[in-house]
Symmetry: D2
Subunit: 358 residues, 4 copies
């Protein structure tokens, strides 16, 4: 892929679960997209048949007017004609629905956890593991469908994997301790009640820690012969909810298969450009990782919109007293860590010819 790629016309796309918080982020990111055009929005029965403007309680900024006038379709592949669907479905329904759309020949870009760990389903962050997209061939072959499911990772795992990819690729991670402070938007809408989180911290997010830990292996794994070879590391993650709107902050301590100093880590992060195929996509930020030397950064409120929410900011790279280094990573959980990640995956598929022509 090069900056020169430009589709002849825009691919029509549909958004599943379009009325929820992540669905709305899809609407915002795709409303003026150069390669994709929102052709359809779908949601649950409660919203079906209503104008989108009425079905969705809009959460940020101004709803694009043209989308507001669309009629919400049911989550049914027979009723959705776009060949590409972005899924913001809740995991309680994503399992069945995404399967149905893939069977019906659609390319499904999914935010849900349901298929992420399936051995034939790519779990992709373009800069980190673009090669994993090759699993699509295996998936189609084995499942006998022309559609496909491509997933992006848990929001915390996305931020951490991006921040750590340069170090994993250069040195190989041995042990990894992570402690998160996660924004409330990660829980969707209505999500976290204000009485639970105003002036408070909740040191627990249901099911988050094992998911976060497991996905790190697949994200940082190496594609080889139709499968993903997992890195030989140990990962411990503790997850906390904090009263922040957007932006997951992660305190990290890590050791590597070789002794790594902070200076070495900083050099590796600075030098890292990510997979060449991931550069110059419409949603690619100028830098996938921004390294700050302000000792009090990254901070969600101040850094979350770096690179339009697609840049992960890393700071406080310093020596650890037990392992090699400590550092802090922060990224936008509903953009880079959710809808924006799916859009970037779709762009990568387009730029690498996997979407055919629009």
């Amino acid at each position: 892929m090069t900056a020169q790629f430009k589709p002849a016309k825009r691919w029509p796309v549909a958004i599943l679960g379009a009325t929820g918080a992540v669905g709305q982020t899809f609407v915002r990111l795709l409303a003026n997209h150069p390669w994709f055009e929102i052709a359809e929005v779908a949601a649950s029965e409660r919203s079906e048949g209503k104008p989108y403007a009425e079905a969705a309680k809009w959460l940020e900024g101004t709803m694009p007017e043209a989308i507001g006038r669309m009629t919400v379709l049911p989550t049914d592949p027979a009723r959705v004609s776009a060949p590409i669907v972005f899924s913001a479905l809740d995991s309680s329904v994503a399992g069945t629905a995404e399967l149905a759309f893939a069977k019906a020949g659609k390319l499904v870009l999914s935010n849900a956890k349901n298929f992420r760990m399936e051995p034939d389903v790519p779990l992709v962050i373009p800069e980190v593991n673009a090669s994993h997209l090759q699993l699509i061939d295996k998936q189609r072959r084995e499942r006998g469908w022309t559609g496909a499911i491509v997933t992006n990772a848990n929001c915390a795992a996305t931020v951490a994997a991006l921040a750590l990819a340069p170090l994993e690729q250069e040195f190989g991670i041995d042990k990894l301790f992570m402690m998160t402070m996660q924004a409330v938007s990660g829980a969707g809408y209505p999500g976290v009640p204000s009485l639970d989180i105003l002036g408070n911290v909740i040191p627990y997010i249901a099911d988050e820690e094992p998911k976060f830990e497991k996905e790190m292996f697949k994200l940082l794994g190496r594609y080889e012969n139709d499968s993903i070879v997992l890195p030989s590391m140990k990962v411990s993650a503790q997850c906390n909810r904090v009263p922040v709107e957007h932006g997951h902050t992660i305190a990290i301590a890590a050791s590597f298969h070789t002794r790594v100093t902070p200076a070495m880590a900083i050099d590796a992060i600075r030098a890292w450009k990510g997979d060449p195929s991931s550069r110059s996509l419409p949603s690619s930020p100028p830098q996938a990782i921004s390294l700050t030397d302000d000792p009090s950064r990254p901070q969600p409120r101040r850094d979350v919109n770096a690179g339009n929410g697609m840049t992960v900011t890393v700071g406080r790279v310093r020596e650890d007293t037990i392992l090699d280094i400590r550092m802090v990573a922060m990224g936008h959980n509903t953009i880079r860590g959710a809808a924006g990640g799916s859009v970037l995956n779709a762009e990568l598929l387009a730029a690498t010819g996997r979407l055919g022509s629009a």
Copy 2:
């Protein structure tokens, strides 16, 4: 010490730095204390000579009227007559001032960092290391004074040391990773500007991490022959500020000199009573550690006032994927972690006969 200890009359005490946030907490905790009586309040030149009610911008609840009418004295041992002084002085002045008071024969109970790590100064949490008070004899002998300086620890270190004392004493800590989410009151008043912390996280507190790490060793150390034998462990701490009023939350991962399961850790914590001399003091909570099995606790807003702010709440004791166990500890940073800790230390000195008679 037994529950029967009851002084014939109350000891007169003075509060240094009485107008600041920690100073006010001293006022609240000592206003109706059964063993101590606030005889004098002292503060900086700006406040000297004013009525306390005018000099202090009162932050919580209602100022005790009798204290409000007291005239603020200078921070000068020649002007303060009480033999016992609680110091809420900032570290920028505590070094000189506390030394002066100790030289003048006063017993100084200090919250400042200045003397904590001196080899002849006890750094005490009564339940954890009451025996360290014996350092006072060495201190007096070597420094040639009749006064003394007794310190309490950094607020985060206090919470962590209390939560971990049962495990250190039963199994011996080997490696210890800690990540804090600290309340804004830990920075005093005016402290953290609201523009820095509303809806935000700051992954940095100046000078906090080395202080926290070092104090853990002394707190968990063993008194032996006039000195403290430090435990053979490794400690890594990362400190963060969150928009919480009171209550430091700490995510912990630890291994021990022997393999420890969550069940073993839970049993050890449950069985632990702390040093016998620390029980039944006026400020002793019913439980120094409260163990919760609610997976979403401890939370600062819901648990910070347990035991009138003197109980540390521990939860989520579970297996770690790298070390032995993970858990979360939370405690009140300005009560247990500051003024309340000093008061408990003074009570321990009283109950063990080290204050003489009032």
Copy 3:
């Protein structure tokens, strides 16, 4: 009623809607009540048959153990034996349910809006309008039941009516402008989503303004010949939600039937003691209204717990540039403005002999 009233034994009471936020506040306030004893807890079908500890997600402090072990009953007068029921039912079900309990001979102390404006139902704040309880006789006579429904007002109306009662009673209100900043706990649990209110203000609370305005008239009305004579005033209220946990703050501007200066208003508030029958009840605060001269008070976080949440704090009484005076009132919305108000009403009924003997 005098301080000497002391029932021979405690009345058994039931709590309807016991698992919700207001229901939990009832549990906290009644758990160690000198005159009442929680005999039963009832809630919706979803909770029926479960132990209360399992059915209720406990929101503040520690659940009283004995209540936690109670089995949740259905909201059915045939299954509840206590003669006195505190209702924390949502208005969607309170209409039918409270009627059924009253018909079955129970005395219902209701927080719901459903019956507040019925001409034969007392809407009571003991200090303000204890005489309205006489409506019970009319209610029983006309409805032909031995039970009764006694209501307390909307949380904002309660705070405002208490703050303004001395002025209405002394001078007669002519025009009244009020603008509220209401805590999230007023919306119950889960209530306001954190994504809606973190770092935000919502200048709207559905249905609140007309309710608030109308209830002010009845609360400040005069009992006369079996009915309430409404005051001849005009009332305008604007209601806003702010990111505060507990405590509704109300900015007020008012004119009176006679010209009133700030000094006159202050004197009237200071002199006011409220209805004699309301003093010395177990939940009566030392002062129903606390007047502050700190220009930056009242503040929810600093004053909400005055009088254990039963005192309304009034400040900034000053001249208005259009009407006579301006002032600010603040009170605890789930204690004084909800559960605590019901409990105080029940105590007033007990102390005035309307409960018979326990």
Copy 4:
């Protein structure tokens, strides 16, 4: 002025008080301005001589690099060569400093309160009262200088005056009650301590109410014969601080010299375009006022950035129970209500030929 105005080259400008919160907003707004170029930054002695990047603790987004490299100048007209200066000075120093700059022939665009109410100093919101700029002639004539001072109003007054200008101009305001909920950024940096405002409301802002009330008269006044004829209205304002980062929300009730219905008010607001000279300036928003029919809007977090922070959003226009109408207005206090207002004033001066050629 028309959209066609385009200066031959950009005017060099200086920013006074450039390191503070409002100064930084000036830097952000002017960094890529089509008509102005930041030539110099000045601040207090503490910052003088340092690179701007070092002197300023940057609060939002990323500091423009070129500005970061500038050396901070003293606040001295002899050291500043730009003919146009934007002043973000604190009122404690603005009186002397702005006078000195005007005497030295500079055009001073001031955010400070010091000169706002001087009879020969324009207090301008371009859409509302562009004609007031004619006071400059009087000012120069009477003060005998070639410089000038042009001020913009208090942040709350700016939001209110914009929202009310259509109604004042169409109907004439008679009585006006306003109650504000103001963001913490209005107090500058460090400004409001987090311990004062987290989860809290402060019903008081020192000196704000009289300033707000008085400025409303001048802002809505009519230029006539070298002076401003004040409208014959009565204004009452109550000011509150809330835990919001940016965006002042104002609840308004108003009556007019003629009876006005909500429909009439809505029509007047919709039809209003503001002074023709104010349209199509580089910082002019598409709409000076955006009218919403969502009953829960405007909200600071959701609407504050409308029109890049230059649009005031108005909602909930409805009948009042005492006066004619009620409504809610919200605008960005540090953009429209401070730095952005000054920049718009400067653009208006440029477009109307009052800056000469660059």
